[in-house]
Assembly symmetry: C2
Homo-oligomer: 462 residues x 2
């Protein structure tokens, strides 16, 4: 005899909650914040005691109310705890700033987080759903250098004249890096630098990840023309040859490349991303190239909703800080629909993958309790099965897919012990009841022929 | 009664040749040089007197033999004449340099050409074949700023220390552009500039092209983060608003954008290129973004073989210099097959589009004789019809497609007056004769039963 759902539900919400390992939870904005609250209420809180989580509100309102103190508090807490989940946030335009009555236009949190956590790399990988093909068949892993490049540039808008860039070493030696004449009336002059010390850490992270997933790694640069990028490649190559080459060779992952690590020119990489539609490759690239190429991958793999995003940093004591987020934004148009009473069907997979990643990293920092990973593995599996059996959201299951709220309920009930069949039956009962209530215009709990005819007529008029 | 082919052939090769307007013809290397020679022998020389064309050999051998004098001669001639066709060339790697016994490793001709011709923009558009879908349904036009960006950067590989970039104006005023501390042990410091004076010319070229083809234009930058790119956008916007806005609005091309020119962030553009698979859009971008995005477009549109490439420059007297080339390389693997006696099937469309472009521009500089454009229009149309009716090369027509030489012959015969049906009949006769000759082992012009059986047995053994 099956246990009753009620009993299980009590069990889950009762004394037996698991202790969620300490984690930073950054709240954001709009549709994604609403959906994440549903997820917490239905999927996490019934099973975990999250009293050790620290919450920070990085919505525009939250930042403005605290004069952005909440931003630096979140970074500090992230450094202490080492595991961070972040919802999508809004970086307000000038128009939004005025509309929201903000004191100033707050910048993207990315810069502060990368700096505060000594950002090494942003890993962005394809999400795969068993039994359902999105874009690539096999995983695509990406490592984007989290620092350097034009993001940290200074510039001048200049007329005719001469420009000189000089370097003064710690012991006072002076060296001229660049001298150029500007002959146009209008010029933009740009200086930036790539700090390269942490490329070794990036390399280890990339090559160990690719090896674990049986993926062929490529290092992507434009070094044939941008000669200073040779150094990124050479560091990657050194780490590979010293620590990974033998294992990769043993795994047969170098069979197609004469036993050597492959370099790929960045513009050729834009082509490979489309051509290699089977997936099964990894790319590591500089900051801006990574920005461009990961967005291209996300579109090829259906949408940014199916790409992970993890910022890897390093605390001074060597502990790896990991911040997980979805690759998509706050889904403003769905939020508008929701507020206008229009049904939505938000796919939470990207955010939930981030939550799972953060919880698992938090767990690993606290001694790896299997009960936590058992739960996250089960959660992922339930979502995949729902998506693959037509019980997912409408982006994947079409017009008959579930609404935001129905989907959260369907998975939540299974986490609390219902079988998929039971949860589906309950869902069907609920949506049928909704239709019934619409037809039963006199609310007497019964449909007369007149009521059904009135409905049919209304349908015809539409 | 149809005219006999022989008569037409004499007519074409006789006194009635058209005078080809003066043009620079840059020869390259490998398969593309071989195929272009076939094209010249069969398609152009029978109909044109090309004695006013100036030829330059930019093969590695040609550059080495002349100590690269041929490179500067070609640039000078291009400046004089204003219309240039260029075959793909090889930029030798160190390995190739040694193998070929070159005195030095010659760089890509691109830099010298862009500088010598005051390069403004490289236009790269999709090629479309009537009756055959490649990638995009409607044209995609691209304008890549031909100067500026990291291609002209200087850099230093540096340890800890400080970096300072200063500008000295023509009248001696000094201004600090950038000051930064390097805290890593290893850093790459980069300075470059974007000369912006010719963006006005780029804008006119782009907007007039898009308008002519009824295409929605987008300006692509990363100006939200790379603030110095605002200037490129503002110049484009000014030219658009002053000279084109009304005409675009009248054509209905601004209906989807509230009547305004659209800006697109570069990383979002990598997604649009895949999402907007119907085509019908144009993009104008900075140099490196253009490099990346045009390669992505070329892959989405099947291959670089179906993308044009035209460098637009400007002579001091205001005459527009145009250099046309294919977007693909020298097709080294096919060249190896050819040299090993293996049949090839090279699609010359990309190169022939470039040749047509150069001939038409040369013609326009000389007073626009309609006989020239009648010929080029007919040539393009014959190629398209062949590709769409299974008489094209194997990249488009599969295994039953024609070889490199068969295809050139098939089109050449039609240019000389044969109908498509006659040319096809002749082609079938020729390939049947080849098979017959193989079977007729005693070369007596007749097949005996034994000969056919011997052949059947050989087939079975394979």
């Amino acid at each position: 005899v099956k246990q009753s759902t009620a009993a299980l539900s009590v069990q889950a919400s009762g004394m037996k909650k698991m202790a969620a390992p300490p984690m930073v939870f950054i709240k954001g904005e709009e549709m994604t914040r609403y959906a994440m609250q549903l997820v917490m209420d239905n999927w996490i809180d019934p099973h975990f005691d999250t009293s050790k989580w620290k919450y920070f509100d990085l919505s525009c309102r939250g930042r403005d109310d605290s004069d952005d103190q909440v931003m630096s508090d979140a970074v500090e807490a992230g450094k202490d705890i080492g595991a961070i989940f972040k919802e999508p946030t809004v970086t307000p335009t000038e128009i939004q700033r005025v509309k929201l009555g903000l004191k100033r236009a707050y910048g993207s949190p990315n810069g502060a987080m990368r700096k505060g956590w000594n950002g090494i790399t942003i890993s962005r990988d394809t999400i795969h759903i068993e039994g359902l093909r999105l874009g690539y068949n096999k995983p695509v892993l990406f490592e984007r250098h989290a620092v350097g490049g034009e993001y940290g540039a200074s510039f001048g808008m200049l007329g005719k004249g001469s420009v000189k860039t000089t370097f003064t070493s710690a012991d006072g030696e002076v060296k001229v890096i660049d001298e150029r004449e500007l002959t146009d009336e209008s010029n933009a002059v740009v200086t930036y630098h790539n700090p390269l010390d942490n490329v070794v850490d990036l390399a280890h992270h990339f090559f160990s990840r690719c090896l674990e997933q049986n993926i062929v790694p490529y290092v992507v640069t434009k070094k044939t023309v941008f000669k200073w990028q040779e150094s990124f490649w050479l560091t990657m190559l050194d780490v590979f040859n010293e620590h990974y080459k033998t294992q990769y060779a043993d795994a047969g992952l170098l069979d197609g490349s004469g036993g050597e690590l492959q370099h790929l020119i960045s513009d050729a990489a834009t082509m490979s991303i489309i051509r290699w539609s089977e997936g099964g490759f990894g790319m590591a690239a500089h900051n801006y190239d990574g920005d461009m190429l990961t967005d291209e991958i996300s579109q090829f793999h259906k949408s940014p909703g199916f790409i992970t995003s993890c910022l890897l940093g390093k605390r001074d004591d060597g502990v790896m800080i990991k911040e997980f987020e979805a690759s998509h934004g706050t889904v403003a148009d769905m939020w508008e629909d929701h507020n206008n009473g229009i049904e939505t069907s938000f796919n939470p997979l990207g955010m939930v993958e981030a939550l799972i990643g953060a919880m698992e990293h938090a767990n690993s920092l606290q001694g790896d309790r299997p009960e936590v990973t058992n739960f996250t593995t089960n959660l992922r599996s339930l979502i995949h099965k729902a998506m693959a059996t037509g019980m997912g959201t409408r982006d994947l299951c079409g017009a008959t897919g579930l609404t935001t709220e129905e989907f959260v309920a369907y998975i939540g009930r299974q986490l609390s012990g219902m079988t998929a069949a039971e949860a589906k039956e309950l869902y069907l009962k609920e949506i049928t009841a909704k239709v019934f209530d619409t037809l039963d215009t006199d609310n007497d709990g019964k449909l007369t022929l007149d009521e059904v005819v009135a409905f049919t007529k209304r349908c015809k008029d539409l």
